[in-house]
């Protein structure tokens, strides 16, 4: 499997790698469109799951195995289950439908377009840089180095994010309790 996944840059494996790339990219893109178009909330969650799996496949193609597995564990395995769980707990009708108002659609489309423009602006110079100096994908992914970076050089931001998450969790628990009274 790695023979075709890892050597994405070599010309002989190019066909298989690009076939897999288009497979995953189409899957992620189509499912993302599905998330926006579908009205049923649980179906949206399933579409989102296919998007996440497609993106995880793209990470695998790039040789970022750890990122791919984290994507699956945290988003597909954790966040999505919580979304579906929340829907099951809160909805009254059997199949919750999501009917946005016209104003909401306009605002969402505007924000989406602005973000898309910003990302294109940010990516295109980086893209040119990579084209001249491509990253050789498929090298052994430095898991150990990632761990050392997280607990070494970047330990302060890492811990700050953990504290932030803790604060968010306590806040959510407090709000949920306050609403009950």
């Amino acid at each position: 499997m790695t023979a075709c996944l890892a050597q994405i840059s070599s010309p002989e494996t190019g066909f298989i790698a690009s076939a897999l790339f288009y497979l995953f990219a189409i899957m992620a893109g189509a499912a993302a469109v599905g998330v926006v178009v579908t009205r049923n909330v649980v179906r949206m969650a399933v579409m989102l799951m296919f998007t996440l799996i497609g993106v995880a496949g793209l990470y695998f193609l790039l040789g970022a195995e750890f990122l791919a597995a984290v994507q699956l564990v945290i988003y597909a395995g954790g966040t999505l289950i919580l979304i579906v769980f929340g829907v099951m707990l809160t909805t009254k009708s059997p199949f919750a439908r999501f009917e946005p108002k016209m104003a909401e659609v306009v605002v969402a489309v505007t924000i989406g377009l602005v973000l898309l423009g910003a990302m294109i602006l940010a990516i295109s110079p980086a893209n040119a840089r990579f084209a001249s100096n491509p990253i050789s994908a498929g090298q052994e992914y430095p898991m150990a180095r990632l761990g050392q970076a997280l607990l070494g050089d970047y330990v302060v931001p890492f811990e700050l994010i953990s504290v932030l998450l803790l604060v968010v969790m306590i806040g959510a628990a407090y709000l949920a309790k306050a609403r009950k009274r």
Binding site: A3, F15, M49, E65, G77, I81, M143
Partner: protein
């Protein structure tokens, strides 16, 4: 033997690829070979494991409840699962009118595919691992198994049935909470090993019983049990089978399923049981290695001989050794699966609040303590910390005393002896129970007792 030479480099052909294609296959050949391997070896193997597992579960249940279990179709009832499978194929594929048509159909596949994908990294043998170079092997299995839950939840939700939704909600609660102790218990083992790659894990533990990670330090020993309990819960096996508790929820999340779609859930469950046993085996119980370390001793030598002179004989020997390793791995996995079945038919089912209490107030703090303890252990009783990983030779006591690491070595040996003793005790216990059971069964099949020369039935008693 440096570890780096034991695992081929990225893109290098595996043993079987070299046997089949010559030295290095073309990319399309490698891709085709992988596809054929998945379709012709893994899919039938997973189905066989699931079918055999179902038969075995019924046999174990029969023995535990003093029954015989399936014994009509084929020898020992072995073909019962095949007959049941055929029956399920012919059943009508029902869908409730108010169920979500798309999700209802999709859910069984979502449950089965991840369990199947997890098989691709299980290290059956040093050269018989589908993807030996995946550096996040253990994590990958965790990831795909967490996707499997989505299938179960969707099945419950899409059925539009109150029992199913209850089952799905319980599954969601259970999975989300038990994933944490499960992950931390795996982390304790991974910390002791220093790698997530499943083949490297196997090579690391190739020096005999005392090098198995379960005996590496007291914390991994406890983590083994924490992992086992948490994995039972995350795979909804009894006593944590609340998502389908048949005494209250009919059949829980798969109440509305029939025919082949129903059987997919069963296949997923039994495949996941094996996968969970596979992680436990490769992370704690030495993977494909036998307790004496013979496979670990022979494999590097045979592999080197074959690499130097790729002849028929050396290749055959390497192949035989790998087959033995597969046998060892499957034996260990099946023993763990057996314990899972044994627990299912002996323990009563707790309530959902008790299940969550056990996770959040017992297992979670325990696993956090284990994580801290394992970290402190690495700090205070370092085992070969000065040695680069590639030159780790756990089976050579001289190395340990030379580096002043005798304490860690002694601890490992003592733990291994305790573990071996406990294992023998369990085996003895099972053997004793089996003998007693045979005696009781014999007494039951004896001819009816006769009172005063007249059969009791004739008296009308």
């Amino acid at each position: 033997m440096p570890l780096a030479t034991l695992i081929s480099d990225v893109g290098a052909p595996s043993f079987m690829e070299r046997v089949i294609f010559g030295h290095s296959p073309l990319p399309w050949q490698a891709a085709l070979y992988d596809c054929v391997l998945v379709a012709a070896v893994f899919l039938p193997a997973v189905s066989l494991i699931a079918m055999f597992g179902i038969w075995w579960e019924r046999k174990v249940a029969g023995h535990i409840q003093s029954r015989i279990g399936p014994n009509r179709v084929g020898p020992f009832g072995l073909l019962q699962s095949v007959a049941d499978g055929l029956k399920l194929l012919l059943k009508e594929d029902l869908r409730p009118r108010d169920a979500d048509p798309v999700l209802f159909r999709l859910a069984p596949y979502l449950a089965f595919t991840p369990a199947f994908a997890a098989f691709l990294v299980l290290p059956f043998a040093p050269d018989f691992t589908f993807e030996p170079r995946l550096n996040v092997g253990v994590f990958w299995v965790l990831a795909v198994l967490s996707v499997e839950v989505m299938g179960v939840i969707l099945a419950g939700w899409a059925s539009n049935n109150k029992w199913s939704v209850y089952g799905a909600m319980r599954e969601a609660c259970q999975m989300v909470s038990y994933e944490i102790p499960l992950g931390i218990a795996i982390l304790v083992g991974v910390m002791a090993a220093g790698t997530l790659n499943m083949v490297k894990l196997g090579v690391l533990q190739s020096g005999g019983l005392h090098t198995w990670l379960i005996f590496r330090n007291p914390f991994t020993l406890l983590a083994f049990f924490v992992y086992f309990v948490a994995s039972l819960a995350s795979n909804k096996r009894a006593p944590f089978d609340l998502p389908e508790s048949e005494s209250e929820l009919v059949a829980g999340f798969h109440t509305e399923y029939s025919g082949l779609r129903f059987s997919f859930f069963f296949f997923a469950e039994y495949a996941a049981m094996f996968v969970i046993g596979g992680i436990q085996t490769s992370l704690f119980l030495g993977g494909w290695n036998d307790p004496l370390g013979l496979i670990g001793y022979l494999h590097p030598r045979l592999a080197q001989a074959w690499a130097a002179h790729p002849s028929m004989t050396s290749g055959l020997w390497l192949f035989v050794l790998n087959c033995a390793a597969v046998g060892m791995f499957v034996l260990k996995c099946l023993s763990i699966v057996f314990v899972q079945m044994w627990l299912r038919w002996t323990l009563p089912r707790p309530r959902i609040d008790q299940v969550l209490y056990a996770c959040i107030k017992v297992l979670l703090p325990l696993s956090c303590v284990l994580l801290l303890g394992a970290a402190l252990w690495q700090l205070l009783v370092p085992e070969m910390a000065l040695q680069p990983w590639a030159q780790y030779r756990p089976w050579n006591p001289g190395d340990w005393s030379a580096h002043g690491r005798l304490a860690a070595f002694v601890v490992q040996c003592v733990l291994a002896m305790v573990g071996a003793g406990a294992f023998m005790a369990v085996i003895g216990w099972v053997a004793y129970a089996w003998m007693t059971g045979r005696k009781i069964k014999q007494r039951l099949t004896d001819p009816a007792p006769i009172a005063d020369g007249v059969p009791l039935a004739a008296v009308g008693a």
